[in-house]
């Protein structure tokens, strides 16, 4: 079950090697995103778009706010 985390936890996990995934439309991602975040839009998340990510690597998803 995905775990909800706050800003401090995002920073801690990112410093420990977690990958951050921006699931917003590309235009929103290009305006600004968290440092190091990669863009995989929600509707494009599938086996092919995530095959480069290790299954046991911590992943953090985010969007604008509480959408």
């Amino acid at each position: 079950m995905p775990k909800d985390i706050d800003r401090d936890e995002v920073q801690r996990l990112a410093n420990s090697g977690a990958r951050i995934i921006d699931v917003l439309p590309k235009a929103d991602y290009e305006q600004f995103h968290l440092p190091g975040a990669i863009s995989i839009q929600l509707e494009k998340i599938d086996a092919a778009s995530t095959k480069h990510l290790p299954k046991d690597q911590p992943l953090i998803t985010y969007c604008q706010d509480t959408q």
């Binding site: 995905p2 985390i5 951050i20 968290l34 998340i45 911590p58 992943l59 985010y62 959408q67």
Partner: protein
Amino acid sequence: MSARAAWRLESLGFTHVYRYTAGKMDWRASGLPIEGQFADEPCAKDIARRDVPTCRLDERVSEARRRAGHWPVCVVVNEQKIVLGLLRLQTMQANVQQTVEEVMESGPRTYRPYARPEQLKRYFDKHQDRHGAPITTADGELIGFVLREDVERTQSGS
């Protein structure tokens, strides 16, 4: 959106999936670094003065005034640096014997660190803020104070 994304990732076999519930607006409002087109645009956190004087509710105004020095304001904060009020120079000069809590301007307008200079100028004009305003996180924690003169200097490019 991020919740559905997190669940979808789990369905694909990822075992450590987290969701940053507050999202990127929370990140930006905290003044943390960002990447992208907006990263190079000057904003409030870039021109906010971090050395703005602060005081506590129970202090004497005379003490706040002394600490303010050449500043036209003193920001009232609690131990967590949450902005509770504002003392302006005129108030500090006229009420030296009272406590900060008795004479402060309660709940002053604050702005987020990503506000752009032209937005700040518009807000300052609209609300007749002669000096400027505190910049805080979305949680109300003081980051600094943007002086009106700094906004105008940024806009004129000097």
